[in-house]
C-alpha cells in the first residue's frame, strides 16, 4: 500500500490490517480500527465463531447480533476466505500482498501448515508486518500447550493475587487475559510501522506471548523478585486490607463503595465525619489515630464502625461528599453506572453507533480525548460485506468471485 496521510480528524493513516485473530487478539485490531486503520477481518465462509456467542441483541440469536462480536469488531471490514483450501490460500496471498499488517492468534505452526507463515508471506510483501498473539508464544517448552482465558489467568499468576486469602484464586470478569497481549501487540505494530515508514526500514515478525504480557500487568507486586529476595510467594489479600484500615470495599445503601484512608489527616477527617453521622464516640478513640498501618490492631472493631457508617449513604453520596472532606471514596461501578457517569460523558468516552440489526447503542471508543483527532464510528461488519470491493481491487472479476463463492472458498 502507498503510505498515505490520515484523513482530517483521524489519528492513524489508513493502514491495511488483516485481522485473523480469535478472542486472544481481537482487541488489538479494534484499537487500530477505532483510530483509523483499515482493519479487515478475514473470516471463514461460515463466519467468525464469536458471531455465535450469546448474549445476542434483545436475546434474538443471529450472526449479526452477538454483543461480543459487535463490541470487539467496531470499525472493521469483513471478507470471507477458506484458508484451508489451496484456492483460498491464493486469494489470501493476494490480499496479504496489499496489506501493511497481519495479526493472527492461531495455534503455533497453523499458519505454516497452510503455507501462510511470515517467511512465505514476505516473499509476496517484504514490507509486511505480522504479529502473532498466542497463549505462550512461538518458542519454548509450553508453546503448544492449550489455553483458555482461565488457563492464561492461572499461568500468568493473575489469579494467585485475585480474591480472598482464605478462598481459591479467582478469575476476573470479562476475559481480562485477552487485553494485555493484544495491547502489547498494538504497541509493537505501531513501532514496526514507524520503523518501516519513517526510518526506511522493512517489515518484520512480532511474537507476543499472552502469559508474558500478563505478567507485565502486575509488576508492582513483582512475584518473581519477592521469591528471590524473600523466599515468599505473593498471594491474595482479599478486597480489604488487614494492614491499612480502612482500605477496601464496604457495603453502601445501594451497592458497594471502596475507600482508602492512608494519611493521619484523612483518618481525622473520616473519624470526625463518622461521629457526626453516627453519634458513636468510639470512633474518636485516641488509639485509632495515626496513618497508614497504625489501625491494624483494631481492624475488626473499626471495620464494623465503618460499615455502620457507609450503609447510611448511597455510593454516589460517599464519593462526592468524601471529596469535599479530602477523602477518597471510589464507587464500585457496574455497567449501568458507567453508562450514566457524568465524567465519562464529559470526556467524550461514548460514541453512538447505529447498526441495522443491533440498533443505536453507545460504545466506549474514547480511550483518549482530543480536539484534533476522534475515533471512527462504524459498526462491526456484516459477514463478508466487503468481499466484492476488496477482492475486486485485487483483480478478481465477477466471474471468478462467483465461481469461488459457489465452491465455498469465499
Amino acid at each position: 500500500m502507498p503510505f498515505q496521510a490520515p484523513a482530517e480528524g483521524v489519528l492513524l493513516p489508513p493502514y491495511r490490517v488483516l485481522d485473523l485473530t480469535g478472542p486472544e487478539g481481537v482487541f488489538c485490531g479494534k484499537l487500530l480500527a477505532d483510530y483509523g486503520a483499515e482493519v479487515i477481518k478475514v473470516e471463514p465462509p461460515t463466519g467468525d465463531v464469536t458471531r455465535q456467542r450469546p448474549p445476542f441483541i434483545s436475546d434474538v440469536p443471529g450472526i449479526e447480533r452477538s454483543s461480543y462480536f459487535l463490541f470487539y469488531n467496531t470499525n472493521k471490514k469483513s471478507v470471507t476466505v477458506d484458508l484451508e483450501t489451496s484456492e483460498g490460500q491464493v486469494v489470501f496471498k493476494k490480499l496479504a500482498a496489499s496489506a501493511d499488517v497481519l495479526i493472527e492468534s492461531f495455534p503455533v505452526n497453523y499458519m505454516q501448515s497452510l503455507g501462510l507463515d511470515y517467511d512465505s508471506l514476505r516473499q509476496v510483501n517484504p514490507g509486511l508486518i505480522m504479529a502473532s498473539i498466542t497463549p505462550f508464544g512461538q518458542t519454548g517448552p509450553w508453546k503448544d500447550y492449550k489455553s483458555t482465558d482461565l488457563i492464561s489467568l492461572a499461568a500468568s499468576g493473575f489469579m494467585q493475587i485475585t480474591g480472598d486469602p482464605d478462598g481459591p484464586p479467582l478469575r476476573q470478569g470479562n476475559e481480562q487475559s485477552h487485553f494485555p497481549g493484544a495491547q502489547h501487540a498494538a504497541t509493537a505494530i505501531m513501532g514496526a510501522l514507524f520503523y518501516r515508514d519513517m526510518q526506511d526500514g522493512r517489515g518484520q515478525y512480532i511474537d507476543v506471548s499472552m502469559q508474558e504480557a500478563m505478567i507485565t500487568y502486575y509488576t508492582d507486586a513483582h512475584p518473581a523478585l519477592a521469591y528471590i529476595q524473600r523466599g515468599e510467594n505473593v498471594t491474595r489479600v482479599g478486597t480489604n486490607s488487614t494492614l491499612v484500615i480502612p482500605l477496601g470495599a464496604y457495603p453502601s445503601k445501594d451497592g458497594w463503595i471502596s475507600a482508602g484512608i492512608i494519611t493521619p489527616r484523612e483518618w481525622e477527617n473520616l473519624s470526625n465525619w463518622m461521629f457526626e453521622v453516627t453519634g458513636n464516640e468510639e470512633i474518636l478513640n485516641e488509639d485509632y489515630k495515626g496513618g497508614n498501618q497504625d489501625r491494624a490492631p483494631y481492624n475488626d472493631i473499626i471495620t464494623a464502625l465503618v460499615i455502620d457508617f457507609t450503609t447510611r449513604f448511597t455510593s454516589e453520596e460517599l464519593f462526592h461528599q468524601g471529596q469535599e472532606r479530602n477523602l477518597v471514596f471510589i464507587p464500585v461501578n457496574t455497567v449501568s453506572d458507567l453508562l450514566v457517569d457524568p465524567q465519562l460523558d464529559a470526556s467524550n468516552f461514548w460514541f453512538d453507533i447505529d447498526h441495522a440489526d443491533a440498533g443505536n447503542l453507545k460504545y466506549p471508543l474514547g480511550v483518549f480525548d482530543s480536539e484534533e483527532v476522534t475515533p471512527t464510528t462504524n459498526p462491526a461488519p456484516y459477514l463478508g460485506q466487503d468481499n466484492e470491493v476488496i477482492f475486486g481491487e485485487l483483480g478478481l472479476d465477477e466471474a471468478e468471485l462467483a465461481s469461488l463463492r459457489t465452491r465455498g472458498v469465499i
Binding site: 450469546p54 492449550k146 492461572a154 489469579m159 504497541t187 518484520q204 515478525y205 508474558e212 507485565t216 464500585v332
Partner: protein
C-alpha cells in the same frame, strides 16, 4: 560502525510524573528507541522508588529503565527555565499531574505550544483531566473498582474481587504508546500536532466489554460466576498437594471431556449420565467439581497440568512467584533479566543510594527486525551531565550553579 536504527530513533520524549501508568508508557517508548528524558527531583520522591516495600525499589526498573533520568525541580525558577529549554527540543511531552498543579508550576499547555509549536502532548490523570471529577483525589488500587470489572468477578453477593495491584494503570500505560506513536506518524505526514487526554478510569472502563452493549439491549447486568464458565465444565481451579497450590482446568468440548477422563484413569463417575454431555455437566457442576477436586487433591499442581496438557486438555498451575522465577518456559524465552537497582533511602539523595541487583521482565513483543531494548537502568539524576551539557549545551559552571541552589536536584 553506524548504529542500526530503531523504530523511534530520533524521537525525544519529555516525561514528568510518578506512579505506574505514565512511567510505563515512557519505558515502552524508550524500549522502542525513543530518547525518553524523565524529569524528577530528589526533593519529592516518587513512591515507586520504594516498591515493593520489602525490596526498597526492586520494582522500579520495570518502569524507569532505558530512560535518561535527570533531576530538575520545576517549582524553582532555574529549574523551570531548564525544563523549558528541554521542551523546545522534544517531540512529545507527557505528564500525569493534574492541570491545576501544572498551571501553578507554569507548565501550562499553551505555553508548551508556544515554546515548541508542534509538540505532541499526552496528558493522563486518574479519574479525568476535564469534566466534573477533574479535581478529585484518587488511589490507583481503588480506581479498578470504577471500571466495572470488579463487579463481574467473584461470586454473587460477595464483596467485589480485587486484584492486588494497580491493575487499571497498566491498561493506560500500554495503550498510551499506541496513541503517541499514532500522533507522531500523523505529525510526520501532516505537520499537525495533537493534544490527547487519557485517564485510568477510561482505560479500565473499556475492559468492561460486551456487557455494556448487553445492558443497553436487555437491561441485564453481568452475572458473577466466580471461576465458572457459561459454556464449559469442568471449569475452575482445583486444590492440589502443598500449601496454596492450585491447578486451573477448562474442559471446553466433548472431545476434551473424553481425553480428560482417559488421562485421569477413567474413574466410574466419568461415565455417569449426569456428566455425559456439556449440558449435563453444567447442570451438575457442583458435584463434578467436588469429584475433580478429589482427584487433584492428592497430586501436585505440576503433575495435574502435565497430565492434562499431555492429552491436549487446557490446564495450568496457578503460578506463584517461585513458579515464574523457575519456569523453564520463561527461561527459554529469556523473560526475566538481571538489572541493577538502587536501595531507596528517604534520608539521602539518590546518588548516595547503594546499588543492588534485581530482575525485571523483558518486553513481551519479540520483534524480529528491531528487538526492543531491555535498556540500562539509570539512577535518579544519573544522566544530568548528558542532558544538560550535551543536549542543551549548558556550561559546567551553569550546571554547577543550578545544582548548588537545588534547581537541578
Amino acid at each position: 560502525m553506524v548504529e542500526r536504527k530503531k523504530p523511534l530513533s530520533g524521537v525525544r520524549i519529555l516525561e514528568l510524573g510518578p506512579y505506574v501508568a505514565l512511567p510505563l508508557t515512557g519505558r515502552i517508548l524508550a524500549s522502542l528507541g525513543a530518547e525518553v528524558i524523565k524529569v524528577e527531583t530528589n526533593k519529592v520522591l516518587d513512591e515507586m522508588n520504594f516498591i515493593p516495600a520489602w525490596s526498597r525499589g526492586g520494582g522500579q526498573p520495570e518502569f524507569q529503565r532505558a530512560k535518561k533520568r535527570v533531576t530538575i525541580d520545576v517549582r524553582t525558577p532555574g529549574g523551570l527555565e531548564v525544563f523549558k529549554e528541554l521542551v523546545k527540543v522534544s517531540d512529545v511531552f507527557m505528564s500525569n499531574f493534574r492541570r491545576n498543579i501544572l498551571d501553578r508550576w507554569g507548565v501550562d499547555f499553551p505555553e508548551l505550544r508556544r515554546l515548541r509549536q508542534d509538540i505532541i502532548i499526552m496528558w493522563q490523570t486518574g479519574l479525568g483531566g476535564i469534566g466534573p471529577y477533574y479535581t478529585y483525589k484518587s488511589y490507583g488500587i481503588l480506581v479498578q473498582h470504577m471500571g466495572g470489572v470488579s463487579l463481574m468477578s467473584g461470586e454473587e453477593g460477595e464483596p467485589p474481587a480485587t486484584i492486588n495491584t494497580s491493575y487499571s494503570d497498566y491498561h493506560t500505560g500500554v495503550f498510551q504508546p499506541v496513541a503517541i506513536m499514532g500522533a507522531l506518524l500523523r505529525r510526520g505526514l501532516t505537520g499537525q500536532p495533537a493534544t490527547m487526554e487519557s485517564s485510568i478510569f477510561k482505560s479500565g472502563a473499556v475492559t468492561a466489554g460486551p456487557s455494556l452493549l448487553d445492558y443497553q439491549s436487555t437491561g441485564r447486568l453481568p452475572e458473577r460466576i466466580g471461576n465458572r464458565d457459561r459454556f464449559a465444565s469442568p471449569h475452575g481451579v482445583y486444590q492440589c498437594l502443598g500449601e496454596d497450590r492450585w491447578c486451573a482446568i477448562a474442559v471446553q468440548t466433548e472431545d476434551q471431556w473424553g481425553d480428560f477422563c482417559k488421562a485421569i484413569g477413567n474413574p466410574n463417575w466419568c461415565f455417569e449420565d449426569s456428566f455425559s454431555t456439556m449440558t449435563a455437566r453444567l447442570e451438575n457442576q457442583s458435584r463434578l467439581d467436588d469429584l475433580v477436586g478429589g482427584w487433584t487433591l492428592t497430586r501436585t499442581a505440576e503433575d495435574v497440568m502435565e497430565c492434562l496438557q499431555g492429552v491436549g486438555v487446557p490446564a495450568s498451575v496457578v503460578s506463584q512467584g517461585k513458579d515464574l522465577n523457575e519456569s523453564l518456559h520463561l527461561k527459554a524465552r529469556g523473560f526475566y533479566q538481571k538489572t541493577p537497582y538502587y536501595l531507596a533511602d528517604r534520608g539521602n539523595p539518590a546518588y548516595d543510594w547503594e546499588q543492588f541487583e534485581g530482575i525485571a521482565s523483558a518486553n513481551p513483543p519479540k520483534m524480529s527486525e528491531t528487538p526492543m531494548d531491555f535498556g540500562h537502568y539509570s539512577n535518579i539524576g544519573e544522566d544530568n551531565d548528558y542532558v544538560f551539557k550535551e543536549i542543551l549545551g549548558m556550561s559546567q559552571s551553569d550546571v554547577d550553579k543550578l545544582t548548588e541552589n537545588q534547581s537541578l536536584y
